[in-house]
Each structure stands twice: as structure tokens, then as C-alpha cells.
């Protein structure tokens, strides 16, 4: 018997050893393969972008919580770290450092802490940061360093457009897919990640590896990534089947742009996605449809970020209407 009085608390008296911190660090681990690929492809600039984003996210969270909100500082819970990494993954590696800092401020300050901090934000903070930058600095945000040309030195904004950008432009100027297919990277290159684009979005294989790790660790469920990618594939597949000269094939759509990164890491963000499996499917379906509509008919070549943010806004509504089935609701009780 120890000297302290015995503890009385409500049941249950045992708890699983999963903590939100552990979940967060699992996500960080899952992002490592994609980061390694981007290091290989973009070299030191990938490192700089990522480190700057992480440090500024953590710093802003610390400063705002400590001096503005005057609450307990929660930078050690790992969520700001993830926001930093994901923000960096959604930026071109050639972006000026000061823009990354602004993006972090918007992500942490506006999208997360102004709503009340972890768990209260409606929109995915990293995506809000990215979209803010995309809208504010469209030129810098769409200058992509060409893959493997600058892995030794940091080159200021040498550009090659992204695959989706090339297709969009090409189709607008009346080129057919057959003509375009010579210009765009092969599907295999896209799968491995030897292509232009934002830091972390190019390598499908690395992202899928990380995503499978998260599903295996039960941090995320398969519902969102599978539904999202399937929706994109099916919808673009339909258009491709109708007019293959005008629309890219579904494989290109799934592998290019932020589709895989979005499916496994952005849309599955626990806070901003629905709580039920049914809701998750609806949510991912919505993202897929909006993405395809933006890609094929919108003015932006890529629409995953916008699609996720739009569907984020619908999450409370989805949670309200797609509830789990109550046990025993199949039949009514007889009145005894």
C-alpha cells in the first residue's frame, strides 16, 4: 500500500496504449519514403523547403499559443509537424523561403489555431496554406523545377510544367492526346516519381507505401483512399472511353498531380474527415468528382486541393446525415 490515497474513477479501468501523439508520429513515419524520393529528385532544395515549413509551423504554433491565445503549448503532439511536412509536400521545391513562412502562418494561424486548435479546425491546415499561396503567388507556385536536372545545385525556377499542366495546355491549343503522349512522362516514371511537380506528390509508389503503413497501423481506414482513387479513375475513364484523343487516360489522372498524396494523406486527415465509414465513402466520392471536374473543365490543371477543401466544409453535414446504424433499430420493441 502506498502512502497516497487510493484512486477512484469511473470504469473502464484499463485503456489502450494508442495515443493521439502516437497516431501523429505514425503519419510522420509514413511520409518518410515520399520525402526520400523528393530528396533524390529535387536534391537539397527539397530538404530546405521541408525544414523551413516544419520549423515555421512549429514556431508559429508555439508563438501563437503562448503569447496570443495564452494556452498550453501543444507543439509536441506532432500535429504541427505533420502540417509542416504536408505543406512542404504541396509546394514546388523552387519556392522562395519567405513564401513558405507565409504559407505556414496561414496554415497554423488561420486554418488551425483561429478555430481553436487541434480538433476544432474545419479545413485541412496544410491545404489552406497551399491554396492561399497558390492564389496569392500563382507564378511562383506553378514554376516546377525539372526533375533530376538540379539535384546538385539549387536552380532558381527552371520550369517544366507538370503532367496535368501539359495536358491542359495542350488540349486547349488543340493538340490530341497522341501528340501529347510524347511530351508527358511515361506512366512508369510517374509511378516512381521521376517527374515534375510539388515536392511530395510525384512518387505514387512511395506514397502508397506510406499509406499502406498507415492502414496497417489502423491510423486511417482504406475507405477514403480507395474510394477517392476509384472515383477519379472511373470518371476520367468514362471521358477517356468517349474521346481518347481529347481526354487523358485514367492511369495518368490517378498517378499525376496530387491524387495519391491527397488520397492517402490529405483527405484522410482525422480531424477534417467524417467519423463513420459510410460518411468517409461519401466524402471521398465528392472529392473525386470535384477533382475530375476541375481537372477536365476548370481553369486550373489540378484540383485535388480545392476538392478536399470543398468537401471539408461538408464534413459536419456528412456526419449529421450518415450516422452508424443503431443496434436494435431493425425492429420496434413490443410494448410490454
Amino acid at each position: 500500500m502506498s502512502d497516497q490515497p487510493i484512486i477512484v474513477s469511473a470504469s473502464p479501468h484499463v485503456h489502450s496504449d494508442r495515443t493521439s501523439k502516437k497516431l501523429m508520429y505514425d503519419v510522420v513515419i509514413a511520409l518518410i519514403p515520399a520525402f526520400l524520393v523528393s530528396l533524390y529528385v529535387f536534391g537539397i532544395s527539397a530538404m530546405i523547403t521541408t525544414v523551413v515549413a516544419i520549423v515555421s509551423c512549429l514556431l508559429f504554433e508555439y508563438l501563437i499559443q503562448k503569447y496570443l491565445m495564452k494556452v498550453d503549448v501543444t507543439i509536441s503532439d506532432g500535429s504541427a509537424l505533420i502540417t509542416g511536412i504536408l505543406l512542404a509536400f504541396n509546394l514546388p521545391s523552387s519556392i522562395p523561403v519567405w513564401m513558405i513562412v507565409i504559407g505556414s502562418l496561414v496554415a497554423i494561424g488561420v486554418a488551425k489555431l483561429s478555430f481553436g486548435g487541434l480538433g476544432f479546425n474545419i479545413f485541412n491546415p496544410a491545404l489552406v496554406g497551399r491554396v492561399f499561396l497558390l492564389v496569392s503567388f500563382p507564378v511562383q507556385m506553378t514554376l516546377w523545377p525539372t526533375a533530376l536536372e538540379n539535384n546538385t545545385t539549387v536552380v532558381d525556377a527552371v520550369t517544366g510544367a507538370t503532367t496535368l499542366g501539359m495536358i491542359k495546355e495542350g488540349v486547349q491549343f488543340g493538340e490530341t492526346m497522341t501528340e501529347l503522349s510524347a511530351k508527358i512522362p511515361s506512366s512508369m516514371d510517374m509511378f516512381l516519381g521521376i517527374t515534375g511537380g510539388s515536392l511530395g506528390e510525384m512518387s505514387a509508389i512511395a506514397l502508397i507505401l506510406g499509406g499502406l503503413f498507415l492502414i496497417f497501423r489502423k491510423v486511417i481506414s482504406w475507405h477514403i483512399p480507395v474510394t477517392l482513387l476509384a472515383t477519379i479513375a472511373i470518371m476520367t475513364g468514362i471521358f477517356w472511353a468517349i474521346d481518347p484523343e481529347h481526354y487523358a487516360n485514367p492511369l495518368i489522372h490517378v498517378l499525376s498531380g496530387g491524387a495519391v498524396l491527397g488520397a492517402f494523406f490529405m483527405a484522410t486527415d482525422l480531424v477534417t474527415s467524417p467519423v463513420t465509414k459510410k460518411g468517409m465513402v461519401i466524402f471521398a466520392l465528392g472529392i473525386g468528382v470535384i477533382t475530375v471536374v476541375i481537372r477536365l473543365f476548370g481553369s486550373y490543371p489540378e484540383g485535388v486541393s480545392f476538392a478536399i477543401l470543398i468537401m471539408n466544409a461538408f464534413v459536419p453535414l456528412i456526419n449529421k446525415y450518415f450516422k452508424p446504424r443503431r443496434f436494435g433499430s431493425r425492429i420496434k420493441a413490443k410494448i410490454v
Partner: protein
């Protein structure tokens, strides 16, 4: 594929430390404290006075209504006090204090009753005796057993389900009982089948008790009426509604009872008590209690007289270990933390769990990250995070629309919450307020 219930559930570490320990008889305590409210429903009315001499098995408190139960003297001796002492509810309650008469032989007789197979009583007599002999559900809910057996003629009933699931971690009381009293339990089942006039019974046992499953299977080979079902290990399978769903694929309706789907469920401990009452004229005076905990010297299973202070049990397994910070009556998932070591064993005490410092402390609650884990483990299809939120904001009407009252308080949500939120604490509070609101309306 083993059968189980489809929605929700968890699998906490089993920690069944005492599953191979035979049930020992605890020495007769010098003093017993018998609370008059050991069951759900109206407390019993005391019918003895201070200084009265009581015989073993004598009724000392009479059932206070239909949903109530008689209470019998677990030992022969003298009533020394009618006192208020803290029981498992955490509050001081009326109880009868009996000092054991050390000379009285009946306290110490160890009659091992021979197995008696033939059933001589009529169904009415059986139910009457179950009621008279103070038998309540020994699985933990302590619902008076006769209430479940008094079934109106127009209700269709086709299955008797025997709950041998024991899904709570640590506890092995039912497991040991099934191994050691297999035949008696089978006779008990036949008694109930006779009393209820049903010809099919299923014993549901989780697959981590292979030996018990085998034991029953061997004895029922040529008895088609009694089926043994091995179930996948999943908490809270021992919940009535989950068990009925797992075994028969029937879903007990919201606010309904198993009877609504033609089923009556009884725990194996209750069945054994019924066997004792019908075949050997023994009222409910003792029960099996698992005394367990990782730091205990010698965790064991005991036959314990009702009213024995928990101190006596813990002394028997080697005393309170260093660093103990919590004692729980029942299992770790649904048991009640006790206020001190003087709380007596009651009819509902299935185990005593001694928990050390590092296991006892709850994590600091953090913000909900809406991971939905509580929703996916809730076996009732509820949304615990939402219910907690509504309760916190005192929106009880809304919580009732979200079916807060169907919560079975299994604690799966609090168990899995990665942010250590006190979900069940709030839901329980919300339930109690909602119940008051409901009864006000009615």
C-alpha cells in the same frame, strides 16, 4: 469462422491470470456485512433485529417488491448491528452485520453434494423457489432471476441462452465454475428449460476457454437440445444484446429485452445457483470471486460467503502489494472502483482487481481529434464523441434523440480514445439526467 456480433467491439489484453487455478474455499469470515441492496430494484426489508440469533440460510431481509430479492444469512451467528457501510456503489448503505458463531457446525460443514439429475419440481415451483431463494443474475447486473422467468403465456419463447462468455479481462470465475461444475450446470440448464418450457438451449463460450467448450461438448453429445457455441474473443460479447446477436443473429430492439426476440439469457453462475437451490435446497449465500491483479502474490478463485469484507480476500492471496492505487469490484472494463478495503462481497461481485499506480492513472484528456475510433468500436452503433459533447453542453434532449439511453456502458469508447477523453463518464451522466427527464415526461 467463429460466431460473433458484427458491429464494434474491442479486444483488450486478456490477462486471465487465474484460469488454471481451481476454486478454493475461503475460510469462514469472523464477521459478515450483508447489504440489503445487492440487486437491481427495490432494496430488501430487514426482518431481523440487533442481537437476533440467525441460522445459516435464514431469510434476514425480505424482498421489497416484484423486482427485488430475498437476502439470506450466509453464516450462522448473531446480528450485532444494523449499520451503514460503504458498498460497491461508493455510498454508505444499510447492511446487516452478523458475527459468526464459531461453535456452530453448519458454518464449517463441507458437504460436497452428490450430483442430482432428476427434476422433481413443477415449473411453477421452480420459479417460486428461485424467487424465494434470492437468486439474482450473477454475471454482474444482479437482476432478480425470477423476473426473467415470469413470462406471460402469450410471449413466444424458443431459446434459452447460457452466458459463459466472460469477456471481461482478468476474470475467470465463470470459466472455473464451468470446468468444475460442468454437470451441475447442465442439470441447471435442464431445470430452466423445464421451467420455461423451451426445448433448445445454447451455451455461448468465448474461444479462449477451449477446455470449457470441450467439457460441455463431451457431456452433451447425445443431447440435441443443448448446443455449445464457441465464440470469437471480443469484448463486450457478454452483453445480453451482443450475445443474442452473435448466437442467433437476432437483434434485440432498442429499449427492448431479449424476450422480444424469443430469448431468455442467463449467466452460468446463475444457472449453478439455480441448480443448488432446486436440487439441494440451498439459497444464494456464496459465489465464486476471482481475486486478481498483476502484482498479487497468488491471484486465485474463491468460493466466498456473501458479506465477506474484501480485506479478507486480499489477505488470502498474499496481502495488498506495494504501490496499489486502485481496487475494482468486477472486471477492468465495467467494474466499480472501491472506496476502501472494507467493502463487502455482494451477489454481484464477480472479481476483485487490484491495480498498481502506473495502471491506475488515467491519461490527461486532450482535444478530440475526431478520429471516429469511438464510433467504430461502439457495439450499439452510437456516436460516443457526440454524446459526450451534447452532455457537456447540457443538451440532454438532443442526446436522447441520439439514443444516449441505449448505451450499455461497456466502456469500449473510453478504452480506445487516443486522446484519453472521459467519454463514458459524461455519457453515464447524460444517461442519468436523460432518464430523469424521461420519467418526468411520462
Amino acid at each position: 469462422m467463429l460466431r460473433t456480433f458484427p458491429k464494434g467491439g474491442i479486444h483488450p489484453p486478456e490477462n486471465k491470470l487465474t484460469s488454471s487455478k481451481p476454486i478454493k474455499r475461503l475460510p469462514v469470515p469472523k464477521v459478515v456485512y450483508v447489504p440489503i441492496s445487492q440487486h437491481i430494484g427495490v432494496p430488501a426489508e430487514i426482518i431481523v433485529e440487533r442481537k437476533d440469533k440467525v441460522e445459516i440460510g435464514q431469510v434476514i431481509a425480505r424482498s421489497g417488491g416484484f423486482v427485488s430479492s430475498n437476502i439470506h444469512a450466509p453464516v450462522a451467528g448473531i446480528v450485532t448491528k444494523l449499520d451503514m457501510i460503504v458498498d460497491t456503489s461508493g455510498y454508505k448503505k444499510q447492511c446487516i452485520v452478523i458475527r459468526t458463531d464459531e461453535k456452530n457446525e453448519s458454518n464449517y460443514q463441507r458437504v460436497e453434494y452428490p450430483l442430482k439429475r432428476e427434476i422433481t419440481l413443477s415449473p411453477e415451483e421452480i420459479i417460486q423457489r428461485i424467487s424465494d431463494f434470492g437468486i439474482v443474475g450473477l454475471g454482474g447486473a444482479t437482476f432478480p432471476a425470477h423476473v426473467k422467468l415470469n413470462i406471460k403465456k402469450d410471449r413466444k419463447l424458443d431459446y434459452l441462452i447460457i452466458n459463459g462468455v466472460e469477456c471481461e479481462p482478468y476474470l475467470t470465475a465463470d470459466h472455473r465454475l464451468m470446468l468444475e461444475k460442468t454437470e451441475e450446470i447442465l442439470v441447471g440448464i435442464r431445470i430452466l428449460m423445464h421451467a420455461l418450457d423451451v426445448d433448445r438451449a445454447i451455451i455461448g463460450i468465448e474461444n479462449n476457454k477451449r477446455d470449457a467448450i470441450e467439457a460441455f461438448k463431451n457431456l452433451t453429445e447425445d443431447e440435441p437440445g443443448i448446443q455449445i457455441a464457441a465464440l470469437k474473443v471480443k469484448y463486450p460479447q457478454g452483453g445480453e444484446k451482443q450475445l443474442v446477436r452473435a448466437l442467433l443473429n437476432r437483434e434485440v430492439p432498442i429499449n427492448g429485452l431479449p424476450l422480444d426476440v424469443g430469448v431468455v439469457v442467463h449467466n452460468v453462475g446463475t444457472i449453478f445457483a439455480i441448480y443448488q437451490a432446486i436440487q439441494h435446497n440451498l439459497p444464494l449465500m456464496e459465489r465464486v470471486v476471482t481475486v486478481t491483479g498483476k502484482n498479487l502474490e497468488n491471484p486465485s478463485n474463491f468460493w466466498v460467503k456473501i458479506g465477506t469484507p474484501i480485506t479478507d480476500l486480499i489477505a488470502e492471496v498474499g496481502g495488498v502489494p506495494e504501490g496499489t492505487r486502485k481496487i475494482v469490484s468486477g472486471g477492468p472494463m465495467m467494474g466499480k472502483a472501491l472506496k476502501n478495503f472494507d467493502v463487502p462481497v455482494t451477489k454481484g461481485t464477480s472479481g476483485i482487481l487490484v491495480i498498481s499506480e502506473d495502471e491506475a492513472s488515467r491519461g490527461e484528456p486532450k482535444n478530440c481529434i475526431r478520429c471516429g475510433e469511438c464510433v467504430s468500436v461502439c457495439p450499439m452503433g452510437l456516436e460516443p464523441h457526440l454524446l459526450m459533447n451534447l452532455t457537456e453542453k447540457t443538451l440532454f434532449e438532443k442526446a436522447m434523440q441520439e439514443d444516449i439511453l441505449t448505451c450499455i456502458e461497456c466502456g469500449s469508447c473510453s478504452y480506445v480514445c487516443p486522446s484519453h477523453r472521459p467519454l463514458l463518464d459524461y455519457i453515464r451522466f447524460g444517461k442519468s439526467v436523460s432518464k430523469q427527464l424521461q420519467s418526468k415526461k411520462a
